[in-house]
């Protein structure tokens, strides 16, 4: 690159990394920053409680399971879901932060979809909640794009050689959800029963729905 004159340095840190002043114990670190922000009135403790309660108790993979189960029993819904996932998911009142632009990708006997975010930890919050530790791990972020089959084996998932993997690296603000295949022998089951079979990992592509015994 010869156009040096167009390049400015990325020096928005006017200090020498303020975070280096934090204590080594992360609990104390959070306590210090949280108390400072609370005392300055920049954050409200009731807001923190409400946020934590929302993602611990209200928004999680059960939402996604309801979307999947509905798509399994309602072909018209499934059609809408695959064409405009954001709107179809909003029909179930799941929407908003980290799910503003949803895309649902369908597994078939020939295609298996897997979701990853190699650059950070992008994940569809309204339907799956906060990502699990393994999804945010360096191991999953680094290896999945290069050796997805080995990675899936570590989750106990073995794909046949005829199955093509489609791996979606969430590099922008689109958030992906996998629509897994409906397990065999579930024809008699209704939506809410089916939703119980849909695991979180099956909606990321690192697992399959539970089979009925």
């Amino acid at each position: 690159m010869s156009e040096k004159k167009n390049i400015v340095d990325d020096h928005h840190h006017s200090h020498d990394h303020a975070h280096s002043h934090l204590p080594s114990d992360p609990e104390l670190r959070v306590k210090a920053v949280e108390t400072l922000l609370l005392n300055k009135g920049l954050i409200d403790s009731k807001t923190l409680d409400e946020l934590i309660d929302t993602y611990e108790n209200r928004i999680g993979p059960k939402n996604g399971a309801n979307v999947v189960a509905k798509a399994w029993v309602d072909p018209e819904y499934k059609k809408r879901l695959l064409i405009d996932a954001t709107s179809a998911i909003r029909e179930l009142s799941y929407q908003g932060r980290q799910g503003e632009n949803m895309v649902v990708v369908e597994n078939t006997p020939e295609i298996h979809n897997v979701i990853v975010c190699t650059l950070c930890s992008c994940y569809p919050w309204p339907v799956l909640g906060i990502p699990p530790t393994w999804y945010k791990s360096d191991e999953y972020r680094s290896r999945t794009v290069r050796e997805p089959r080995k990675v899936l084996l570590e989750f106990g998932l073995s794909l046949g050689p005829k199955v093509q993997i489609k791996l979606w690296d969430s590099t922008a603000e689109i958030r992906y959800l996998v629509l897994p295949m409906r397990p065999k022998g579930t024809e008699h089951m209704g939506e809410s029963e089916l939703a119980e079979l849909v695991t979180r990992n099956s909606m990321i592509g690192t697992g399959l729905p539970k089979e009925i015994k």
């Binding site: 390049i7 400015v8 340095d9 990325d10 928005h12 303020a18 975070h19 934090l22 204590p23 992360p26 104390l28 670190r29 959070v30 306590k31 210090a32 920053v33 108390t35 922000l37 609370l38 005392n39 300055k40 009135g41 954050i43 409200d44 807001t47 923190l48 409680d49 409400e50 929302t54 611990e56 908003g96 932060r97 503003e100 632009n101 990853v116 190699t118 650059l119 950070c120 930890s121 906060i130 530790t133 393994w134 791990s137 972020r141 680094s142 794009v145 050796e147 990675v151 570590e154 989750f155 993997i165 489609k166 791996l167 979606w168 690296d169 590099t171 922008a172 603000e173 689109i174 990992n201």
Partner: protein, 246 residues
């Protein structure tokens, strides 16, 4: 060159930390937050973000700009907290002296004594009553602008072969290095989205066409690809791409 966060395809990482039960079955359930301090770090980051002093691209870039030895050693929420502190200082929401004062109070166990009883909330503060409404809106990155996409579905494209942030040396981008200089096909056009390469540096939203581009495993990893016909799909902005002709 890139930074440590850009780790797709890297060699050397071990097994995925897949949680298993006593029968060695994969466990799908784990608590939303493993420790209380994870929840607190996460929540104060969201609440501070709601003050409107920075956007999502700025906060991502701050995490990426942690010194490599910190990025590699910090756990997930330690990265969040460190980046948050750097942002709070840079945006002058807190001062270094204040930070030091609270840090020493936390260290010597007197922090509970300095919790204020009567707090006047900043007018920008996110109120509990607005939490559900704001989460429901989210922060859409699509912009209705009159920019027509240059590429059509099925077009063969090649990605830029260097960090495509031309304005900022070491600046933010969302084109991972494993997909630089590679040939793929336009799979879909996804409307115009805020361009992180500008937005992360306070240079405006500059919405541009966003495409999903499909790459063959063979193209990205060569003959050593696990299975050459597998596909990797990335969401890429128009400036990352050029027409490719054989």
């Amino acid at each position: 060159m890139s930074r440590l966060h850009d780790m797709g395809g890297r060699f050397g990482d071990g097994s995925i930390p897949v949680p298993r039960n006593d029968e060695n079955e994969v466990v799908n359930f784990e608590p939303t937050f493993k420790y209380d301090w994870h929840a607190r770090a996460w929540a104060i980051t969201l609440a501070a973000g709601a003050l409107g002093e920075w956007n999502i691209d700025v906060s991502r870039h701050y995490r990426e700009c942690l010194p490599p030895k910190d990025y590699i050693n910090f756990s997930y929420y330690e990265k969040w907290l460190a980046a948050l502190v750097n942002l709070l200082i840079d945006k002058e929401l807190i001062s270094l002296n204040e930070l030091k004062e609270y840090v020493s109070a936390a260290k010597n166990g007197t922090i509970d004594n300095i919790i204020e009883k009567e707090i006047i909330l900043d007018e920008r503060a996110w109120l509990a009553k607005d939490v559900q409404k704001t989460l429901g809106w989210g922060g859409p990155s699509i912009r209705n602008v009159n920019v027509s996409p240059v590429f059509n579905i099925g077009d063969k494209v090649i990605t830029q072969n260097y960090s495509p942030n031309k304005d900022i040396n070491g600046g933010h981008t969302r084109l991972p290095k494993y997909a630089m200089g590679r040939v793929g096909l336009i799979h879909s056009y996804n409307n115009n989205h805020v361009f992180p390469d500008k937005n992360a540096h306070g240079l405006g939203e500059n919405p541009l066409p966003l495409y999903t581009v499909e790459f063959k495993s063979l193209e990205l990893w060569g003959e050593l690809a696990e299975k050459q016909n597998d596909s990797i799909l990335l969401d890429l902005w128009e400036p990352y791409l050029k027409h490719f002709s054989n």
